[in-house]
Structures are given as C-alpha cells and as structure tokens.
C-alpha cells in the first residue's frame, strides 16, 4: 500500500482538538525547544524531550482552559520534562564545563554562525552553574523577556520571589562570566 497514493492530508476531516494542538505545536515548538536546552537537556536528548513535552501538551490541552498564560503553562511542562531527563542523563560536560567551553570569539564577524554556536555552548555552561531556581528565572526574564507575573505563574511562586531570584541570578552569572573572561585573558 502506498502512503503517497492515499493522499490523505486533504481529504481528512480535521478534529477541533487536533487543530488546537496543531496551533500550539506550530507556534510554540521553538519556545519548547530552546527552553528545554536552557534548562539543561543535552542536545542529544532534545528531540526526545520535545516530544515528551508535546505528548503531555496533547494529553492536557483540554485541562489548560486558559487559566494561565500559555507560555507559562508550557514552561511548567518543559521544566518537569527536563527534570525527568536530567534525572536519568546528567550532562556529561557539566563537571569540566569551564575547560570544554571557551569564551566565544568575535560575534559580529563573518564567522558569526560558528561563533554563535560557540556562544551557545559557552552560555549553557554558565547556566549549568546556576541552581535551578535562578536558572529558570534568568531564562524566562532575560531570554524570553517574560513579565514577572508570567514568570511567577510559570514557576508557581510569587512576584517578589521572582525579583529576588532574578537579582541573584544576574549577579551570579555576571561573576561567572567575568571569572571566565579574566581567566582567558590571563592565559593570553
């Protein structure tokens, strides 16, 4: 039997629920993907983890009912799936992150793509050194640019806690960054 000849895509009735899920998937796949990585899912497991997230989304979409911002809800799922993955598959480079990930080079030059990838690896190694609470707040505030209220909803904490964690996260990240940078300069 030939799947090509079946040409089923156009002929099938679309279920309302499926369409709803499709929209969430289409619009938020990138969000799910990047935040899985930011919370510590290793690259090799990202596809599995993203799939796990959307399986939960599919199962739970009816329960969502717009009680919270969709992104907050998705992030809470991302967070749980990440914990599950990390429980069984610790990032191997965590221990020697400082050695493995050099400070990125020139980010504006013709080698930007390679430099961006290098920057990503470097940044992930910095994030690995934050505890989960600071890491989550930092990611949502600085990279997703979510409001404190949204973040509080995603992390199930109050707004003051968000501000407090964010301040600590920024300080910690700044210190880590400077330490790496200064070490690199000292080696020159």
């Amino acid at each position: 039997m030939s799947a090509e000849s079946a040409s089923p895509g156009a002929a099938l009735p679309a279920a309302p629920g499926a369409l709803e899920f499709d929209a969430v998937y289409a619009e938020h796949f990138d969000f799910v993907w990047r935040n899985l990585r930011r919370l510590g899912v290793p690259d090799a497991s990202l596809r599995d983890a993203a799939q796990d997230v959307f399986l939960v989304v599919h199962r739970r979409l009816d329960d969502f009912e717009g009680r919270a911002e969709l992104r907050s809800w998705l992030f809470s799922i991302v967070k749980r799936v990440t914990l599950n993955h990390r429980r069984t598959q610790r990032r191997k480079e965590h221990a020697d992150a400082e050695e493995a990930h050099a400070l990125p080079g020139n980010l504006a030059g013709p080698e930007q793509s390679a430099a961006d990838s290098e920057a990503l690896r470097f940044f992930m190694s910095l994030l690995d050194e934050l505890d989960d609470e600071k890491r989550e707040v930092f990611v949502l505030a600085e990279l997703e640019e979510m409001s404190a209220t949204e973040i509080a909803s995603a992390l199930n904490c109050n707004v003051n806690t968000v501000y407090s964690r964010l301040r600590l996260a920024r300080e910690k990240l700044r210190t880590l960054y400077e330490r790496r940078r200064d070490r690199k300069r000292a080696l020159r």
């Binding site: 039997m1 799939q51 990279l143 960054y177």
Partner: protein
C-alpha cells in the same frame, strides 16, 4: 552600563541566534510524536517515523502526522484514517484529554477496579502525574531497550478491556492497543498478552485485529514461547499476507529476514 553587561548582552543575542531548532529537528519530533500517539505495535523510532514523514511530507498538523501511520506507511493497518481522525479521542488512545486524566490518576489503581475506565496499566508510581506518561512515550527508544528497561507498570494484573458505557468501540480498541504497546515496550509481555487475549474475546472482529495478531506474536516471542509464536506467525501470514508487519512477524523470534536468505 559596564563592559561586562554589554558583553553579556552580546552573548545573549548570539545565543538567541544559535538556539533555533533546525528543520530536521522539527520534522523528527513531529514524526516521532505521531508515532507515539498512534497505538502502533511496532513502536517506531524517531528515525523510522522521520522516514515515514519524509515519504508523505504533507502539512504540519497532528492530523497529517497521524496519516502515514494510519494509512499504512508504517504499520499498514488498513484502518480508515478517516474513522480515526473524526474525533480527537479516537486515534490517540491514552493520550488525549479524557483518557489522559484517567491514565494519570492515582498510582494505586488496580486493574479491574471500578474507578479505572480501562485497564490502567500505566498507573505507575509516578512522582509527577503531569509527566508520568511522557518518558514512556519517547518514541526513540528502541524495542530492545524498552524490554530491558525497568518496568513502569504498577502491577502485573490486568483485566478485560472493559470499555466504559458510551465509549466508541474503536476508541476502546485503540486504548487497549496503546496499553499493549506500552506493556511490550516496558518488558511486560505477559501483561501485553493478557490484554490482547481479553481484547480478542471482546472484539474478535475489531478494526485492529491485524495489529493485535502481530503484537501477540511479539509478546509470545518475548515470553520465549517460540512454538506458539511460530504457529501464530504462520496464521498471521496466512491471514494478512500483504501486511507491512509481515516482515517483522517473520523475524519476530530471531528468524532470518526473508530477503537475506
């Protein structure tokens, strides 16, 4: 404000550029998702599913995702995709809204208990009900891996697939197959067999008879009931000679694939 802050800002900009998923990532996850949502006996890996998606390569929706699996690109079930896709709860046994709530319920649900609308074999002692199903559904796990993995099932008990009043028979059948698939993947062939036999009694002429027959063979092989498996395989090949599952059935107990002799 300071050089460090500027540098960190630049770093974050570079990170945003670099962390976008590739088209291949999107395709693979989408296809893997379809494979996991459909109660496929074969438990397709991400690679298999991606291949199927590449073959059909139509659209981006879940309905489209399910199509290759339901129309035969992978499983060749012969079941009308239209029937499956007329409602959200039909094709995706155990993962849609209502069934999911039942499946992710209390971890102590026993088979046959009145609170369980279907045999709740996935009612594992899950720490977090929100993701209780997700790891087991990760489609990239090969069957061999899953057979060796620790079981997530609560108990070996099972019951007849007792559909709730008002549940579409096809939906109930799909749910049972999803349970069979999970049991096989979790290395619980006895449980799979039990569910299959109960289902066979309840719906001998069900729409998923072909998948059920194949799954029974896989379960028998896993139980090392080789003679029974071979007998069942012969019967399967007689009944479904053109089944896409035929090759898997032929090689189910370690036999040499037909093309390599």
């Amino acid at each position: 404000m300071t050089t460090t802050d500027d540098e960190i800002r630049d770093l974050l900009r570079a990170v945003r550029r670099a962390e976008r998923p590739s088209a291949g990532d999107r395709t693979a996850v989408r296809a893997g998702l379809a494979g996991a949502l459909v109660s496929s006996v074969a438990a397709p890996t991400l690679a298999t599913a991606a291949k199927a998606a590449a073959i059909t390569g139509k659209g981006s929706g879940l309905a489209t995702l399910l199509v290759p699996f339901l129309t035969g690109a992978v499983l060749g079930s012969g079941v009308s995709a239209g029937v499956f896709l007329t409602s959200r709860t039909s094709p995706v046994a155990g993962v849609s809204g209502a069934p999911a709530r039942a499946l992710s319920g209390p971890s102590t649900v026993k088979s046959g208990a009145s609170v369980a609308p279907v045999p709740v074999i996935s009612a594992a002692p899950a720490a977090d009900p929100l993701v209780a199903e997700a790891p087991a559904q990760a489609s990239a796990r090969a069957a061999s891996d899953s057979l060796e993995s620790p079981s997530r099932l609560g108990s070996d008990t099972t019951g007849a697939p007792a559909p709730r009043a008002g549940i579409d028979p096809l939906e109930a059948e799909s749910r049972s197959m999803a349970e069979v698939q999970r049991a096989l993947r979790d290395g619980r062939p006895a449980l799979a067999l039990s569910v299959l036999e109960a289902e066979e009694r309840a719906r001998p002429a069900g729409a998923l008879a072909e998948e059920r027959a194949a799954a029974r063979i896989f379960a028998l092989c896993a139980l090392e009931r080789r003679t029974d498996a071979e007998r069942a395989a012969s019967e399967f090949l007689r009944r479904f000679p053109r089944s896409p599952l035929a090759e898997r059935v032929r090689t189910s107990c370690g036999a040499v694939p037909s093309g390599s002799r």
